[in-house]
Amino acid sequence: MSKPTEGHIVKRFDDQLTHLHGLVLEMGRMVVEQLRRALDTLDAEDAEAAREVAERDQEVNRLDNRVDDELVRVLAMRAPVARDLREVMAVAKSVTDLERVGDEARRVAQLTQRLYGNSGSSPNPGLLRDFFELGQDVIAALETTLRAFESLDLDLAVEVLHNDEALDGEFQAALRRLSTYIMEDHRNVGHVVEVVLGLRALDRIGAHAKNIAGYIIYLATGRDVRHVPTGSLIEEFGTGG
C-alpha cells in the first residue's frame, strides 16, 4: 500500500504533501526536545540553560511560519480535494498546536528561571515531586501522537485520546498535593503558584497532543471528532489491534 500522500499523476504534488507531512514530524520532534530540555533544566536547577531553551522557542516559531508558507503554496497551486485537502487541513491545524506546545515548553523553562534564577530561597524539593512524572507522561503522549501521525495509525491516535483522561487525573491530584504544602507552611505560597503555572503548561501540552490525535482521525477517516465525547470515539475507532 502506497503512502496516503503518494500516487498522484503529478509527482511533484506527492513530494509537496510528503514534505508537509514530514515538516509536522520535524516540528513535533523539535518541541518534544524543547520540553525534555526544559524539564532537564528544572531537574538540574540550571537557570542559564533554561534561558537558552526559552530562546530556542524562536526556532519552533520560524518552522511554524515556514510550514504556513508551504501550505499556502500547495493550496494555491494544487487546489487539493478529498484526502489531500484533509492532509493540508490536518497539517495546518497540527502545526498550530505544536507551536503552542513550544510556547508551553518555554513556560516550563521560565519556571526554572523563576525558581532558581534569583538568589532567593530554593523551593521545597517536594513541590516538584509530581512535576517530573507528569512531564514524562506528557512527553510520552506527544511521542505517541507523532508516531500516530507518521503512519496514520488510528489505534495509536485513540490511545492518546484515552490516556488524556489519565493525564487530567494526574494533574488534579498534583494540584491537591500542592495545596497541602500551602497549608503546612504559607511561605511556600510563592513557589507553589509558580509550580501550578508550570503544571498548567504540562496539562495544556497534553490537550494539544489530544487535539492532534483528533486531526489524525479526521485525516484518515474524514470524521470531525472535536467536541465528541472521548468514550464514544474509543468505542468507534478503538476496536482494531
Binding site: 480535494v81 485537502l85 484533509r86 477517516t221
Partner: protein
C-alpha cells in the same frame, strides 16, 4: 490492523436509496456481469432527490456490442445543478445525451431502463422528441449558434414551438431570454448581426439564451466551458448559478474545480458505472469510494 482505512472504509453501502417506484433490483442483477468486480461497481450514496424532475432507473446503453452504461439510476432534482464527472469514456456524456434522447440518431445505440420526466417515460413510443427537447434543452461543448442573426438564433425555438403569438411577444421572449443569459446589454444594439460574429463566451451565452427561450425544465450542458477562457468561464458559471432558480441543470465537465464550484450534487462515473453520488461538498472533502477519491485527487492511473 486499524491504521489507514483507505481500503477498508470504501465498503459499499446498501442501496437504501432505491425508491419504491424503481425497477426491481433483482431483475437487473440477474442479467449483470458476475465478475468479482461487480460488487465494487455498485453506486455508493443516495442517487434519489426529494423533488426529482427526472428519474432514471437501471439505465443501460449499448452501442452495438459495446455496453457503454450499466444499470445507472440517478435523479435530477428541481432547481439543482448536478455535475457528472469521470475520465474520458466513462459514459457521462452518453448518459447526459440519454436525458433528451440525443442518442436516438446514433446507429446501433440502444437505451433500456426507464427515464421519466415529471413521471412520463421519455422513451415511450408515444413521446415526441421535438417537444421533449424543448423541455430538456442542451448546450454543447463548442458554441454552435445558427448561421443567422442574434435575434433569429433565439427566436427560432419559440417560433417553431408556437410559443409566441405576435411579433411583440416574440420580441419579448428574445429579450428576456438574452437577459437571463446575461447577454442582453452586450447585444441589444446589434440583434440583426450574425450570432457567429460574437466572441466564444458570448456565443455560448447565446446558445444558453436559445435553450432558455423555449422555457425548458431541464438544461443539459456538455462541457459548456471547455472552449472558453477563464473569464468567459466564470461568466457562464455565474450564469449557471442564476439559472438554477428557474431550471434544473445537469452538467458534464472535465474540470473538477468547475464541478465543485457550480454544482450541489456530483455524480462520478467510471467505465460505464455510476460509482458514487452525493452532495458536492461531501464528494470533494470525503468521498466514500476509492475510485472517486483517486480520480478527484489526480491519482487515476
Amino acid at each position: 490492523m486499524n491504521s489507514i482505512p483507505y481500503e477498508a472504509e470504501t465498503g459499499m453501502v446498501e442501496r437504501e436509496g432505491m425508491a419504491a417506484g424503481a425497477a426491481q433490483p433483482g431483475e437487473a442483477e440477474a442479467g449483470r456481469d458476475a465478475s468479482p468486480k461487480a460488487e465494487d461497481r455498485r453506486t455508493v450514496g443516495d442517487y434519489t432527490h426529494p423533488s426529482a424532475v427526472m428519474e432514471c432507473r437501471e439505465v443501460n446503453v449499448h452501442y452495438g456490442d459495446k455496453h457503454a452504461i450499466h444499470d445507472v439510476s440517478l435523479d435530477v432534482g428541481a432547481n439543482e445543478v448536478i455535475a457528472m464527472i469521470g475520465p474520458s469514456g466513462c459514459g457521462k456524456s452518453t448518459f447526459l445525451r440519454c436525458l433528451n434522447r440525443m442518442n436516438d440518431t446514433i446507429d446501433g445505440c440502444r437505451v433500456s431502463g426507464s427515464i421519466r420526466l415529471d413521471g412520463q417515460d421519455i422513451y415511450d413510443r408515444k413521446t415526441d422528441v421535438v417537444p421533449l427537447r424543448a423541455r430538456v434543452g442542451m448546450v454543447f461543448q463548442k458554441p454552435n449558434p445558427f448561421p443567422k442573426s442574434i435575434y433569429e438564433n433565439v427566436a427560432y425555438g419559440p417560433r417553431i414551438h408556437g410559443l409566441a403569438r405576435s411579433k411583440a411577444e416574440l420580441d419579448e421572449v428574445v429579450q428576456t431570454s438574452l437577459e437571463k443569459a446575461g447577454l442582453w446589454a452586450e447585444v441589444k444594439d446589434r440583434l440583426d448581426q450574425p450570432g457567429t460574429g460574437l466572441s466564444g463566451g458570448q456565443q455560448q451565452r447565446l446558445c444558453i439564451a436559445r435553450a432558455i427561450a423555449v422555457s425548458p425544465e431541464v438544461i443539459l450542458m456538455d462541457e459548456p466551458c471547455s472552449a472558453l477562457d477563464p473569464i468567459a468561464t466564470a461568466r457562464i458559471e455565474e450564469l449557471i448559478d442564476e439559472l438554477r432558480g428557474n431550471y434544473s441543470i445537469a452538467i458534464v465537465t472535465h474540470s473538477m474545480q468547475q464541478a465543485a464550484r457550480v454544482s450541489q450534487r456530483t455524480a462520478y462515473f467510471h467505465l460505464g458505472d455510476l460509482i458514487e453520488v452525493g452532495e458536492t461538498a461531501d464528494i470533494f472533502t470525503n468521498p466514500r469510494h476509492r475510485l472517486t477519491e483517486d480520480y478527484i485527487t489526480g491519482r487515476f492511473g
